[in-house]
Amino acid sequence: MIGKLLSYDPPKSRVLGVVLAIIVLGLALAPFLFPGAAAINTAAKICIFIVLVASYDILIGYTGIVSFAQTMFFGIGGYGVGLSLYFLGPTWPVLALGIVIALILGVALAFVIGLVSLRVKAIFFAMITLAVASAFLILATQLSELTGGEDGRTFRVPELLRPGTKLLEAPLFGLEITGRIAAYYLVFLAALALFLVALRLVNSCFGRVLQAIRENESRAEALGYRVVYYRTLASCLSAALAVCAGVLSAIWLRYTGPETTLSFAIMLDVLLMVVIGGMGTLYGAVIGASLFILAQNYLQKLMGVASAATEGFPLLPRLLHPDRWLLLLGVLFVLSVYFFPTGIVGRLTQRARK
């Protein structure tokens, strides 16, 4: 049963398996284990980013092409649902409509980008996606009548998911069961399902062809696989998954805006998560996203302490200033591309094989 759910691609190292089990259990029981708004926010964010990073890994890890437009699709999901709910009212059919619109738009855009750039050179793809994504970001901020501009849009979600809604009369294990908890479990279960779909995808015939293309493009071509077709399809599927992540993010935050969904900073975060977690293995997405978001929330506090402790040294307090946490992660990123190109999961798997 579990084997089938995991598409017969279980974690190949015991340590990894244990860590993954802890993460999944932690997320599943997060509202009960870590009470408080901040903790549940972090848990939901981890769920959403696991899907986003997994969608990105399908491209970068399994297909070997680099895109900088993953947050654009993330944003399309967020804006699609957000704007639908904002303009048409907070009902379930509208939510569904928003999802469908976002999926169509996202996949169509991915298709066009793939068509224009993937038949020439994979490196084109990186540059073109970067350009298109930044144009989309500016467009989203400029069309303020529709999108709310820089401020974004705050909207209401269907009643079941609203924080004010009480689902149970009495608290369960000391926890008030509100719409917020329902929303969290919606996000958690959807993320879990999407992750398993992604796992199925990369372990299908299609996924194997992608990996063959990544390993040796000309050989795959010689074997009769149309490389452009597979790459374009991969980028469309990856876009669809990122759109879904965006939808979850919008449902959870009840807000959509350029900073939280479209910005290049998020793109870099995703890049760091996928590389540090491990490219070419979806479990890397789980590890990378969890580690990164925990670090984002707690590393800064640590750095604040370190910065204060090194007061008096030249430059050191500035380097350790909480705002410079990205500096540390950037260095970690560069080092891991050099020395651990397969990331944490790759290392663990290698060790297990020995």
Partner: protein, 356 residues
């Protein structure tokens, strides 16, 4: 067979006969390289279309000058990047870091020179800018050397890692700039003599834009001269086409590449100075904004082509400035549309570089 060989030899000895049967398939006329002029018509078409849509010649001229100034700055930044790609198949996503570093270096140099900057004397103003530009170029060139050594060299021939590593380099460089100079927005004022515009009738030509155009044209001319008239330039052009053969002729292409990389970094530094002065305020992420345009430009021009890069920069800047006036909300999207249209027409860009 033997007889024929003898024949050939006597023929060969006779130097006068240069149309010997050695090349029977050759046409009589000496072939010249067919100049591909069609893309050159694009700026004219876009300019004309914009003139018709705008309807005012003075506005159009002002916008066109703005476009040329912006185009030249983007060209200065993009030219090094495209050559580096052509020569070694290396794409540096961290190129934007040099733009920011150039701007910060210029700011640092101009601070103690504020007397010269504010003096009501154009020569002193320009001297201050020149010093700032030279220091910025030396600094970014030297950092380019380091960047090449520690960031780029270990990942030759691996595009995926290249993109990731250079992106990581960009993050680290930006964060370091924030750590050293502080994270707030910086400003760099134009020297007194370069503020304002030259008024001819009801036409206003901003002085700084004229300077930017002049600098851009000078860089373009110097590059063309180097590439076409010097041995180094010939080697670069040959290396862009077939670096392996350049090595087989006995040249160390690595040195050539490091040289081009350093020059490209220095030019990005210069571009950063120009761009920061143009915008007058900047942060460490100044590079990121320009890099989007730079990537569009080198894709449009054809990766590796300096001429294409020049043309592409002008085209993108024209589109950006005209649409910013006509339909301001879609300014950057217009560049994307331009890029998509050009790639539909020529999938390798306007002037694709012949590769082995």
């Amino acid at each position: 067979m033997k007889k024929m060989r003898q024949n050939k030899k006597t023929e060969g000895d006779d130097m006068a006969d240069i149309s010997a049967p050695a090349a029977p398939s050759a046409p009589d006329a000496i072939p010249k390289k067919s100049l591909d002029l069609l893309p050159l018509a694009l700026p004219l078409v876009i300019g004309l279309a914009a003139w018709l849509l705008i309807g005012s010649t003075t506005t159009w001229l002002t916008l066109t000058l703005a476009a040329l100034a912006m185009g030249m700055m983007v060209f200065v930044i993009a030219s090094g990047l495209t050559l580096v790609f052509g020569l070694m198949d290396v794409i540096n996503f961290g190129h934007g870091a040099f733009i920011a570093i150039g701007a910060y270096l210029a700011m640092t140099v101009l601070a103690p020179l504020s007397g010269w900057v504010q003096a009501d004397n154009l020569a002193l103003n320009l001297a201050a800018l020149l010093i700032a530009a030279v220091v910025a170029m030396i600094g970014t060139g030297a950092l380019g050397l380091v960047f090449e050594r520690i960031i780029i060299r270990p990942v030759y021939g691996q595009h995926l890692k290249q993109i990731l590593i250079t992106m990581g380099g960009l993050i680290v460089a930006e964060q370091l700039l924030h750590a050293i100079f502080g994270g707030d927005q910086k400003s760099m004022a134009l020297p007194a003599g370069l503020r304002g515009a030259i008024i001819i009738g009801d036409l206003a030509l901003e002085k700084y834009r004229l300077l930017a155009v002049a600098v851009g044209l000078a860089v373009f001319a110097a590059m063309q001269l180097t590439l076409n008239r010097s041995r180094i330039g010939l080697l670069i052009r040959a290396g862009v086409e077939n670096s392996e053969m350049v090595e087989a002729l006995g040249y160390r292409i690595r040195r050539l590449f490091v040289g081009v990389f350093v020059a490209g970094s220095a030019l990005a530094g210069l571009g950063g100075v120009l761009w920061a002065l143009y915008r007058e305020t900047f942060t460490a992420s100044i590079g990121g904004d320009v890099m989007v345009l730079v990537f569009i430009v080198i894709i449009i021009g054809g990766l590796g082509s300096v001429g294409g890069c020049f043309l592409g920069a002008i085209l993108v800047a024209m589109m950006a400035n005209y649409t910013a006036f006509l339909v301001p909300k879609v300014a950057l999207a217009s560049s994307i549309l331009l890029m998509v249209a050009i790639l539909m027409w020529r999938p390798q860009g306007l002037y694709p570089v012949a590769k082995r």
